[in-house]
């Protein structure tokens, strides 16, 4: 048996790697990868606690919902990234600082 706290520490490490990617990357796709890391860390926590909740299976069901929502978020944000690239010819978020046309 693997103790529950080890899952939590692995997911904490993955979450902080995601925070680093979101804060310091100069490419919108890499920021999206960082967000996916954070979501995966949260899903790992859901699944780890779900081991002690056999009949309701709430952790596993909501992990499935989280995976579906992450996929939807990726589809929409990649469409936005492509539109931004078409307009600005770059996807570096530090250079995209105009709201107007």
């Amino acid at each position: 048996m693997i103790p529950l706290s080890h899952y939590l520490i692995i997911s904490a490490a993955l979450f902080s790697i995601g925070v680093y990617a979101v804060l310091s990357k100069r490419n919108a796709i890499m920021i999206l990868v960082g967000i996916e890391f954070m979501l995966n860390a949260a899903i790992l926590n859901f699944v780890a606690f779900s081991k002690h909740d056999k009949f309701a299976a709430s952790g596993q069901v909501f992990a499935l919902f989280a995976i579906v929502l992450a996929a939807a978020a990726v589809a929409v944000s990649l469409a936005i990234i492509l539109n931004v690239y078409k307009y600005y010819k770059t996807i570096d978020p530090t250079q995209i600082d105009k709201l107007r046309d």
Binding site: I2, P3, L4, S5, H6, Y7, L8, I9, I10, A12, A13, L14, F15, S16, I17, V19, Y20, A21, L23, S24, N27, I29, M30, L32, V33, E36, F37, N40, I43, L44, V47, A48, S50, K51, H52, D53, K54, A56, A57, S58, Q60, V61, F62, A63, L64, F65, I67, A70, A71, A72, V74, A75, V76, L78, A79, I80, L82, N83, Y85, I91
Partner: protein, 180 residues
Amino acid sequence: MGIEQLVFYVFAVIVLASALLVVANKNLVRSIFLFFITLFSMAGLFVFALADFVAITQIVIYVGGVLVLMIFAFLLSNKHILDNPDNLKTGVIGLHHLPGILVAFLFFIVIVWSVSLAKVEQLEWIQHSGDNTLKPSDNTIHNIGINLMTRYLLPFEVVSVFLMMALIGAAHLARKERKP
């Protein structure tokens, strides 16, 4: 240490090492393919938490769908990187990344500290779960299916409507402008 622990920690090391390489790598193509390895070994960790259906879903949706989408968007939006890939090969993390590293490290310290304060093994509902604890021989897919259609029917429907909205929105955003 049994074989179960050994394989679990090997998977954990692969997850963390490949995630670190993803963020440390300057080459975007390599980062995205290393992201693939991270997601695959996350599915391995899900199997060790006795959630085999979530692991399969992770492989099908993330590795099959999200990753292909990311490579697609990358190929469409980074033409200058693909044209001259040589000027990106500076390996070391520079000093301007220091605030990001600091904030991420503080996050890690705070989360680990709160995990150690929470004492998850001694939580009351986990101590008394007894019969409610999953065993490796249990059939979780059966259980998830029944729960999805009874107890969690409302969130299930909301998620399906949301997914349709996201699909329509993505298709609308990515379409070509028609000439007036």
